[in-house]
Amino acid sequence: MSNNGNRWDPKKFKAGEIPDTSVTLTDSLNNKTGSWRSMKPVIEDKYAPCIKACPTNTLIPQYFDQLIRGNLDAAGWILLEHNPIPSVTGRVCPHPCELGCNRGRYDQPISIREIERFVGDHILDKKGIPPKVETGKRVAVVGSGPAGMSAAFYLRRRGHTVVVYEKEEKGGGVLRYGIPEYRLPKKIVDREFQALERMGVQFKYRTTVGKDVTVEQLLQEYDAVFLGHGAMKERHMGIPGEEHFLSGLEFLWEVNHGNLTPPGKKVAVIGGGNVAMDVARALLRLGAEPIVLYRRTEKEMPALKEEVERALEDGIEFRFLTQPVAARKENGKIILTCVKMQLGERDRSGRPRPVPVEGSEHDLEFDAVVAAIGEYVDTSFLPKEALDKDGWLVADRKTGRTPVKGLYAGGDAVLGPATVVEAVGMGRRAAEAIDAYLNGVEDYKPAPLPRTVSFKYIMTEYFPKAPRVEVPELPVEERIKDYFKEEVLGYDLDRAVKEALRCFSCGHCNSCGNCYVFCPDYAIKWVDDKPVVDYDYCKGCGICAQECPRGIITMEFERLF
């Protein structure tokens, strides 16, 4: 024996000597086993389906992650990367993200909109930082609705001078003059505009493009022009006596200008879209008795399901399968002649076509009638080259580019009546395209979206089932009394975090550490609170990829050359 009864000293070990027992000279780190591998794990953030489903592509799991870690500001800034007005969309968005949410296939989707609202309100008065560098390029934005606000925000952020033209005396478009107070308080809209002003966006109010200044003039005066004038013309029904009707947009415009007297006690609201719902619910809160007339059934209504449900909860009367065919005025009342309808074959929109039932004419008597059967885009003031042969504005959906050089468009002006969030998304994408154009990039193409993590890559074992966190709301009997009370009260911090914790965080590494814990080798290293693969030791067993709860780690074949 070589150690003569003294403690064995591994450092003095010489080849050929025999120790008393096996000793630790090194550890397994000495033995690089990476060469045994035929597959290798790749750690890469991907897109969650909610991001893909959202027209703005907001990085939802990413900002949830920051929210959960307590970095509220960081969460807000991530949110603002893709959506400049989360306080607005956090209130009025139809949340397509929640339809995409993988958790919807497990128990209930995450209440993404309510968390967005909480984070948006947190950052609302902090955002609006002027750009560090001025580029000196000038861009005109026509219309200050959601599309225009979004385009202005992202153009200004990139250092361009932005001038917004708005025909009303205040900005916001549909946000201010369309959506009623109880859904979107105008104070929020004001604060959004204060943020834009802090950034240095300039506004020209009471200036109507097409009247006070033409698009051609703007194109000459500015380096680029963005059209976000919306779809603000009410369709006509084409029936006799229509001149006695109010249009839905007109009514909401009046109410949002402070005219709170309803046009009568018993009011008919014609239509089944969002404007019709807003009109009916606003009328109820102003003390009228609205009755909604719709020619199909509840199932076919184009309004958001949530809004219809709320209208029904409010106790508003709906008459389905009812179509007005004529109107006349008698003794200050409006008599609507209606026919009963039945559902026939499906039309091009996929909905069953309503067909009149013969001999079902009947008269209904109202104090006033509001028609809200759809809106269309006013294109009369636009250059001919930007229109197609049917008179529609032509613009690329991904970049907002029109056939006219330097002229871009987005929002309802391009899509026809759609949603705030789509307008916001198009506004941002157009801003990016305009920025590229101003920097002399020919043939700008937006970068393709990363891969999406579908439900089958989510390891549900790691997520105990849990219902959504309840959203505090005003009780029905209270909310129908007051037009000015916001009906949804929203999450506080505790609720927002609790709900965000339900998120699978699909495709976004939230440093859960599973791969680190389960790696049988030393192959996962923890660097800056994120896992990194050390390929010297990875044998390619694939456990990390299997156990990643959110589909970030994928196994790929090793390529030798």
Partner: protein, 283 residues
Amino acid sequence: MAMRLALKGLGNRVMATIPACCWTIIDGAWPNHALKIPLMHTAFETAAIAASGIRAALDVKGEEDVTVMAWAGDGGTFDIGLQALSGAAERNENIIYVTYDNEAYMNTGIQRSSATPYGAWTTTTPVKHPESRPKKNIMEIMAAHRIPYAATATIAFPDDFVRKFRKAKDIVGMRFFHILSPCPPGWKIPSDMSVKVARMAVETKVFPLYEIEDGERVTINYWPEGRPVRDYLMMQGRFKHLTDEQIEHIQQFVDHQWKRLVHLHELTHGSLPEEAQATLTSR
């Protein structure tokens, strides 16, 4: 993986004995070894008694803060080492004995052990004559010695695993761990499924997570929602040949064992947690 979690729970002041098992290989060939703790390779049947000896020597030297751990496979525990283990348990030696159970003699070519469950294929219980006896219940054998602490654990529940080892470290006397340790070649599963299979064993109640204190007080640590055993069995090639009747037989056996365990939990604690009732009815 199990070793790392165990040492995470126990810390650095540990000595280990390892009998013949696949860890002899993992650890590396003499005169080197890969663990950063003193380790003694022993004969197949002597892990427990060797650990007892080291303990006695340490006590004489006054190094009482050092934990001694015997780390043996199912063969070295359920079969060959049982006599030495029983002796150590009966004397209530102050050691931790861990069996990492992969349900056969995997290291020597997947021969059946008394830990091999009913219906499983091994090279000595081929598909024509699969294992006909249920798995030996080592936890009950150990509990029958009235040792201070015995617990089950698996790598699929690392928090539970580490917590139990930390707890065991502070207990004086014989402590026993039964760890279900999937063996990809022996169970005929792809290596990336190891953790999933272990988790499924718990979820299907085939391998419940529980602890027995003083040989009598039973606590179930995890209440699975309950999935059919078929889900667990069909993940593995070694059960592919099973007929529906055999699977039903296994299901009934598992359900019965679970009911027994729940009853013991109830006896210990006087009542059952809310989630318990669902585990008795749903499959």
